[in-house]
Amino acid sequence: MPWYLYLALKQLFPSGKWLSFFTAISILGVALGVATLVVTNSVMGGFGYEIRRMIIDTQGDVQIRARSLIEDSGPLLSSVAKVPGVVGVTPFAEGVGMLEYGRKPAFPLIQGVDVNRVNDVIPLSRFIRVGSLDELDDDTVILSSQLAYSLGVHIGGKVTISSPLLIERLKNDEVFLPRELVVVGIFEIGHQQLDSNTVLVTLRRMQDLYGLGEAIHGVNVKIADGLDADAMAARINAVLPEASDMRAHSWINANSEFLFVLQMEKNLVSILLLFIILVASFSIMSSLLTTVVRKTREIGLLGALGGRSREIAACFCVQGFLIGLIGTGTGLALGFGFLHLRNDILLLFTRLTGSQEALERFYQFSNVPAHMESADLVMIVVGTIVISTLAGIFPAWRASRLNPVEALRNE
């Protein structure tokens, strides 16, 4: 081991003492910064992850839409299903309608799903809280939880649904009677907007309500795990009929603005938190500078023993690096330890403040999500160690500039 490395270690961890006080403070500063970064990044990443998963769970990985109606969906479905990597396809039709229950109106988004295939793409059964997806047929309907709650409708209740087609027909002096459907299920996805105002009917019922005939609005596609959604969208586009105006979009592409905002939010918070590391690096720098001043005579002595100035510089640089390394390690342990216990900590907090119910009501879940991208973790670790090492450079430069004679005279 080169002497400067040995001495750096000894100055950080002197014989007979576990840790020097200065070192402990510096390491703690870095560790707190890293822990905060890890926890924040991971919880924010967790929310983002949940939201992404929800988008995929409700739209599929890839969605095919057209500006006009898709008339002949049979060949389309079979050709898309044959694309390698596609594991499920399901057609859909959607639109706004008026729903009435006990003279209370609502204007929900109506989703027409193919009950035979929808579970291949969208895990709908997982979201059903009451009732069952199996009972959905052309005369029944499944409501979102908030909608059912606000209308006060229960399983077995009868609602009527009418569509803009009603007005269309009236113009031609025809009569279009609202359809009466029985509620057979209530679902909850965990997304405010979808849960507040959505109803599920069969595709055929939706085609009837909107007068679509056999036409559909689009197709949701599920792709195999691990495949890139954008690449798959491109592959699917290649098999779509040339003449049509159908396009396949990945969920990433279709929600790019929303995803951008999510990512932006996370990055901004990370950058703000990086300032904690910067502040910690100043504490490393000032503690190492103090050390250089305190150890002026020893630095002179090292010169007298035959140490070169760049080795003396290395001794202090290594100390910055080691503080960064140990601080990062401690910070990771603290951060992941906290994340591991996050739900217990939250529970304790809500109990102490009596806010448990409010939390569940507003955030729709009682568990805190956590998800960390490995790239973010690498960024935090590398960034912290680099910043800490840089913090050692100025004190190191000061130490190496000391003239050994002046240093030895420093009585």
């Binding site: 002497w3 040995y6 001495l7 000894k10 100055q11 002197p14 014989s15 007979g16 020097s20 005579r297 020893e298 002179g300 002595l301 090292l302 010169g303 007298a304 023993l305 035959g306 140490g307 070169r308 003239n403 050994p404 004679v405 030895l408 005279r409 009585e411």
Partner: protein, 236 residues
Amino acid sequence: MSDAVARNVLGGSAMSNFILKACDLHKTYLSGERRLEVLHGVSLSVSDGESVSIRGESGSGKSTLLHLLAGLDVPDSGTVHWEGVPDTGARQRARFLGMVFQSFYLIPELDAVGNVLMAARVAGKVGAIERQRAQDLLARVGLSERGHHLPSQLSGGERQRVAVARALMNAPRLILADEPTGNLDEKTGDSIIDLLLGLCSEQRIALVLVTHNAVHAARTARMLFMRDGVLQNTNL
């Protein structure tokens, strides 16, 4: 006159045996407006295993001279040769030279053995042989039981013993000691000088001892006096 002094100070004519040879060293400090000519043509040659003492008033330039001899500072003019070579660089220093200072300069984070071994570390080699030598040297200076004590747990005299052991660690050809007893009481100082002189003659190491103590100076083979920026031979 200074020529005559120089010739006297140079001693005999066996130039090739000189372990240390300094010629016509000049050093001037600028303190504010004033130019302070500290060394005014100092020449000194020390042969292998020889012990030399330098006395002189405080501020006469003894430490300045030692720093030039150690290659820690550069003269305004003049030359310093170690073993006939004008290289006084850091790598050479680790191998060739040991130094003892008035204020010990031990590294507080290292125990006694660690401090002695530090010399070997800087020179680039710490193995079983070096560890054994460090133990032996500590035993030789009477601290065999104190190897794992930190400097803060040692008395002044004991610290200086550790510093002496450190100076001897790399088996140097020359030891420069700058008032090694200056911070010690008389009895402890005497024992340090005993050690230094004893070890140097034992291991045939040349010694340049700066001291205020006439008794200590008298125990060296040659006594010099620093005055008016030159070295004078007190035997004159």
